[in-house]
Subunit: 163 residues, 4 copies
């Protein structure tokens, strides 16, 4: 089995720009992260040309991500995505009913900041993507959610089911 | 689903003792690690009374770990273990044929050292333990291995199948 | 010799708020930082009641910092301050001609973010403050600047003399 | 003023070798550390050909370090050294009465391990080396010690004067 990992940006990949004095995007940190993870399972890393905050994501971006999934030779796909609109992108992909396992994950604290959950979440997603049946999922907080039954509870900073 | 996580020590949990000038064991870092992981899935953490290097593990230790698994109310168990004899302990548990999912993981670089794979591996294990069928597994390097078909390639520092 | 360290906020002490998704201020990280530094020289830590970005600092804040320095029993004072208006606050203190050594320092990257210069800068400041003659200084980039001959080169992200 | 920084190894520069499962020496981490420190003061970094634990340092090593200091064009020299025999090497250099400022520093916890004092100590040493009068000093725990009045209190893990 080969995994495809699609990096779209999001909190996971935010980088502190010391000249601007704020968190923004630079080169993706995923190549370093994957090296650190010491994976022997083959991985195709696809870094989107423009890493963005998921609040800035528009329908065109979601269509392009859908196209990436359609084009993917790999049946197991992890998408690293901002948490704020992870659900919206998951819905676009879920409706497309591809015969692939697509798992969204992200982070509440950027990878490069102390106490980040990014590496845990990526490990979790890389695990479940190999075992789930085809479909679209959100993997956050140590849980797997179905794309059509998940939402972010912004006041608590965690993902929960809809009901 | 509730997870049980059993901390036995191993490289994952090694701590630098600045007075002795070497890596040893102190309090388990797992409580901090789990907080950082932002889990909402319930977790029972069981820290063994004496954290040890897996090269120092003797049969009595393995029998106690087996007993912990037998006693566990949780059907999904992650065991954090040193990599050098992870296979040996997995064999003791595998032979017992418990009706539970037991996933071993660990780290090549201690959690508190730069570039550690510990958090990724724990995330991976916490994911697959929720989806695998009952049995005993080793989850390392982004792969799931069966307990009776895994070994550590010490020169490469990775886990591989036996054949 | 006892050191007084006054924490005013600034990039050094910024903390990522995962619910708001931005860098802001919470509890000062200085108590942890000082523990980590393993100091045996006595230190009085004074954390200002409201940690702020130095771009938000107004004259009232500067007068209060001046008052803290005047009140200080310690003759050696390190002030942790945002870099953007470090020069302005140094000018207020410099003009007061106190018979104390006052050293400003800060960070270009927050203490809790990978690759931060915060700990180096604090070490540097805690060293020079013990050896300089009374006066007001800025200690950044491994250099000591006089309060009336320093400016931040914002495009390069470094401190330089005026000429 | 230009600084010379001589890296000899010691706890500061220890690196975890994941295949051997222990702390040892690899490439010096000083080039990365200095980049992180964002120095604008010119620095000549001299990494000794063989980085060693200071307990393994023999008289020949000390004579070579002395020779490096004699040959140094720079009048301000920071030596990164293991703490266990820092005093012994300082005595060899102190007895040579060079017309240079030589400051020893090191770390109780390796640079790459969580909670390390390495970066603070290096900052401290880089500061005081620019201000001290010629002589040989040990800079640890936020204090400057004279080479002939310093010892390591091993049970407390701190440097103290002899009396």
């Amino acid at each position: 089995m080969t995994l495809r990992i699609i990096a779209t940006g999001g909190t996971f990949d935010k980088h502190y720009d010391e000249l601007a004095g704020k968190l923004t995007f630079s080169e993706s940190q995923l190549p370093d992260v994957l090296k650190r993870a010491r994976l022997t399972v083959p991985v195709e890393l696809e870094v989107r040309s423009s890493l963005i905050d998921s609040l800035d994501m528009v329908d065109k971006d979601r269509q392009e991500i859908l196209q990436s999934c359609k084009n993917s030779q790999e049946k197991a796909i992890v998408i690293i995505h901002g948490t704020d609109t992870m659900r919206e992108t998951a819905q676009v992909l879920g409706a497309a009913k591809l015969d692939k396992v697509i798992v969204f994950t992200g982070a509440m604290i950027p990878y490069e900041i102390a106490n980040s959950d990014a590496l845990f979440n990526l490990g979790f997603a890389c695990g479940v993507v190999q075992l789930l049946t085809p479909g679209v999922y959100v993997a956050m907080n140590g849980q797997v959610f179905l794309w059509d039954n998940v939402q972010k509870d912004r006041s608590a900073g965690v993902f929960v089911t809809n009901s």
